[in-house]
Amino acid sequence: MDHPIQTDYLRWIVLLPLLGAGINGLLGAILQRQFGKRAISFVACTPVVISFLLSIWAFINLLALDPEKRFLIDSLYTWISLGSLNVTVAFWLDPLSVVMILVITGVGGLIHIYSIGYMQEDEAYWRYFAFLNLFTFAMLLLVTADNLLLMFIGWEGVGFCSYALIGFWYRDHVNTRAGNKAFIVNRVGDVGFLLGIFLIYWSLDKAGHGTVTFREIETFVPLIKDLEIWGIGVVTLATLFLFIGAMGKSAQIPLHVWLPDAMQGPTPVSALIHAATMVTAGVYMIARLNFLYSLAPSTLTVIATVGALTAFLSATIGLVQNDIKRVLAYSTVSQLGYMFLAMGAGAYSAGIFHLVTHAFFKACLFLSAGSVIQAMHHEQDMQKMGGLRWRLPYTHLTYLVAGIALAGIPPFAGFFSKDEILWKSFSHGLIFQWALGFAAAGLTAFYIFRQIFLVFYGSPRADPHTQSLVHESPQIMVLPLLILAFLSLIGGSLGVPEVLGGSNRIEHWFEPVFGSPGGHENAPVAMEILLMALSVGIGLFGITLAYLIYLRKTLVADTFSSLAAGVPYRLLFQKYYVDELYQFTFVRGTLFFSRVGAWIDQYIIDFIVDGSAKTTTFISWVNGLFDNYVVDWIVNKIADSTFGAGDKFRKIQTGNINSYLYVVLGAVVLAIIVKLRYSG
C-alpha cells in the first residue's frame, strides 16, 4: 500500500460522464432540436460505456497485481493548500472502489440505455440525460475520491442531481415538494457528515498530522485512538457523526422519510439513484472508513441496531403499500438496513457484497416496474393491475427472477449476500439484530411476491381501455432488463460461502481493504447451515403465504370473516395455525409496525418540513413569541437601521461638486486633528 501505482486513465473514468453532462447541459437544447433525441442519447451513453470499459481495464490491471499492492492512484492537482491542510484532487482505486465503479458504470450504463426508451416521449430529454450523466460523474467522484473533502463534493453532487431528478417533472407541485423533502432531510445528515470530517481533521491536526486523505487517516489513526472530548472517544464521536450523514443519504430510520417520496422522479432515476447507487453511498463511506469504525465498537453496535430496525420496520411498511414503486422504495430502505447491519457486525465485505447484488436485482425490479408502469399508461396502483403475465412476458420473467433474488431463495444472487449478512451478525453475537433481520427476510419474500401476484397474475383489474393498450416495452428497454435479470441470477456466485463448497471470492478480494475475516474457524459449520436453511425456509414461507392470500385467496375470506366474528374456532387446525400466525404476526403486527412507521413518517416529515409547530402547541407558542418579538424585532431593527444609515449616507451625494470637495476637506482636516490629538 505504500507505493501506489500512478496512472493517468482513472481521471477519464470519472470525467467522461462530466463531459457528457457538459455537452448535453450546455448544448442539449440545440442538439435536440437540430439532430433529434438520438444525438442526445449518443452523447449521454457513450461516455458511460467508455467509463465502464475503462473500469474493466482498471479491474484487470488490479487483478494482475499482488493482493497487497492492488492500489492505483491518479493525482490531478493540489486543490487546497492551507497550512497543514493539503487536499489534492486525486482518484484512487483499490479492491473496494473498483467494485463500486464497476457497479456504477455497469448498472448505470444499462439504466442509461433503458432510459433511451423510457424517456423517449419527454420534451426535456436532454435535461434528463444531462442530469443522469452529472449524477454518474458525481457518484464516481464520491467512490474514487482519495480524501474526505473530495468525497464530500461527490456526496453533495449526487444529492443535487437526486433533488433535480426527483423534481424532474417540476410542473407538478407534488414532485417539487418531494425534491424539497429529500433536500431538507439530507441536510440533517450532511451536518453530521461535515462535523465528522471536521472532527477527524481537527483531532489529527492536534496529533500533528492534520489530513483528510483516507490513506493518511488510516496511517495516523492510532494517534487519536485515545483522544477524548466530553468523555467520549473522538473516534466514536466522529464515526457517529459520519454515520448520521450515512443515515441521511442511505435513508436509515428515522431519516428514511425522503426515499419513498423520491419515487416521484422518473423510474430509471429511482433505479439508478434511489436503489442501485446513490443510496448506497452511506454504506460505501462506512466501508471506506472501516479502519476508523473498527476502533469504535459502540458506534458499530448503534449501526447494527439502526440497520436491523430499518430492515424490519420498513419491510412491514412495504407489506401494505399499493403503489408499485413505493413497495420497492420501502424494500430498498429495508435492504439498505441489511447492509448497515453487515457494517455494524464488522462484516464489511458481506455488506458490500449485498450492495452489489442488491444493485443488480433492485435495479432490475425498478426498471421492470417502469416497464409495467409504461405499459399501463402511468398507472402505479397495483390494485388496478393483474394478469399482465402474458401481455408482458419479458418483464414478467425479469421481475420474477429479480423478485426471487430479493426473496433470498438459492441459488439466486440475493440469497448468498443476505445470508452472509445474517450469519455474520449471528456469529458476531448480535442476536437481537439477527432476529429482526431474519423476520425481515420473511416479510421481504411476502411483500415482493404479493406484488408479483398482484401485478402479473390473477385476473386483470384495469379498465378495458387501458387493458387494450398494454404492450411490451421496446427492445432497448427489454435488453437491459434481461442483462440485469441474468446478473441477479448468477451474481451470487461471487461469494458462495465455504460451507457450500464455494470459496467466497469476494471476501478474499476485499481482504487488502478490510483485513482477513475472523471467526470463521471456530464457528460451528452445522449452525451456519441450520441458519441458512431457516432463512430459506422463512423466505419460502413468505412466498407461500403470499401465494395463498393473493393468488389462491383461500385465506383472505376466512381471515376477514373470522376477524369480524372475533372467534375463529370453526377453522381447521392447519388453517387455524396459519391464521393465528397471520393475524398476530401479520395483521396486528403489520398494523402496529405500519402505524409505527407511519407515525415516524408523519411526525418526522412534519417536524422537519413543516416546522415544529405541529409537534406541541407549547413549542409553537414559544416559537411564535420568539419569532414575533425577538427575531422580528432584531431583524427589523437591524434592517431598518442599516437601510436608514444607507439613506443618510447617500444624502451626502447631493450632486453639487462644491459639497463633494467640502467632504474631502472635512475628512482631511479630521484626519489631521486626530493625528495631532493622539500622537502628539
Partner: protein
Amino acid sequence: MDLTNLESLKYFYPEIILSGTVLLLVILDLVIQNKRVLAPFAALGCLLSLGATLQLYGTSEGWLFHRMVVLDNFSLFFKVVSLLAVLLVIWMSVGCHEIRQIYQGEYYTVLLASTLGMFFMASSTNLLMAYLSLELVSLTSYILTGSLHHNRRSSEAALKYLIYGGVASGSMIYGMSWIFGMTGSLDYAVIREVLHQGEANRLTLFMAFLFILSGFGYKAVFVPFHMWSPDVYEGAPTPITAFLSVGSNAAGVAIMIRFFFPAVSHLGEGGNWDFIPGVEWPHFLLMVSMVTMTLGNLCALGQQNVKRLLAYSGIAHAGYILMGLVVLNNIGLRAMLFYIVVYLIMNLGAFLVVIIVSNATGREDIEAYRGLAWRGAAVPATCMAIFLFSLAGLPPLAGFVGKFFLFAAVIKGEFYFLAVVAIINSVISLYYYALIVKTMFLDFPEPTDQEVAMTPTVFPLLLILAIPTVFFGIYWGPLFHYTNQSLGFFIK
C-alpha cells in the same frame, strides 16, 4: 540594472506598440471611411502589446530610462491586467449602442492612451512619472466620460470628474512637493533611504502622505475621495464606467502600492514591510478601509439605478482591496493582486449585462431587470447571477476565494476588528446583490417589458467572463501562483 534611454527601448516594446497603435489609430481615422475596422485594429494593437508584455517575463528586472520607470514582475502584472481590461472593454464597446454615437476614432485612440497611462502608473518609480502617468489616465478619463454628444448626464459627469480630479491631483503634487523638499529627490529609492534615516518631521510627513493619498485615493476610489464616482459612473457610457471601475481602479491601487511599499517602506524579514516609524499610516489606512467598505455598501442598499449601485459596490470593493494594504506584508499584497484580477472579471461581467439590458430597453434601473430570465435573456440573467454572487463573495465563485485570501491576510495580521467589519459588510452586500438576482428570476415580467435580445458578439464575451468567475472559484491554483509571482519589486 540601470539603463539609459536607448538601452531601455528593447524592454519597452509593450508601451511602444501601444503608442504606435494610438498614433496609427489617429491616422487611420482620417484615412479610412469604414470606421468599423478601428475597433479590431485597436484590439490587435492591445494583443500585440500583451504578447510583448508576456515576452518580457523572465528577462532581467531593473530601472529604465534613468530610473524613471521600473521593469519588474509587479509592473508586468498590472500591464497584463490593464490590457485585459481594455481588450474586454473594446469588445464590449463593439456591441454597445451608446458607443456608436461617439466618433469611433477618437474613442479608441483615447481609450488606448488611457491604457498607456495605466502602464506607467504601475511602473513609475519617480514622483514626476507618477504624476504624469496619473494625469495621463485622468485626462483621458475625463474625455471618455464626456464623450457622448449633447448628452446631459455625460457632460455633467465629465465636469464633476474634471473638477474633482483636478483638485485631487493638485493636492497630490502639493504633497509630493513636500516629500521632495524633505528628501531632495524625486526618485523613490532615494526617498526611501532618506526617510528611513528618520530626520523628517513626522507630522509633515503624515500630512504629505495625506495629500498624496488624495490623488491616489481618488483613482482607487477610497472614502472620502470617492464622491465623484457614483455620479461619474452613472453618467459615463457604460463600457467606460466598466473601464474606470476596473482599469483605473486597479492602476490607482498599483501606484499606491508602488509608492507606499517599495518607495517608503523597507522589506523586512518574512515578507513584512516596515513603515517609517512614528507615522501611524497603517492605522489611518485601516480606518479608511473600514469606512470605505461600510459606506459603499450602505449607500448601495436602497439604490435603484444598477449602474449607480455597481458604483457603490465598487467603492465597497475598493475598501476590501485596501484591507490587503493595511497588514503591511506580502500576504496582504498578494491577496490584493488576486482580488484585483477576480474583481476585474466579475465586475466587467456585471457591466456587460447592464449593457445588454440597456441596449434592449434603454434603461438602467432595477425595474428594467424584472423577470429578465423569462424575457429571452436566460443566459445573461444566469451570468449576472454568477457575477453578482461572486461580487458578494459566495462560494464556489471566484469572488469568494478572493475575499477569503483578503480576510485570511487580515486575520493573520491580527486585525480582528477589521475582519469582523469586512464580514458584516459582505453580509450587507449580499442583500442588494441578491435583490437584483431576485428581480431577474423570481419577479415575472409585465406585459410591457420588452424582450431582451443579445447581439452575437456579446454571447462569447459573456461566457469568457462567466466561466473564469466559476473556474477560479474552484481551481485558483494557477492564478494564485501568478499573483504570488507578480509580487516581485525591483528594489535596490
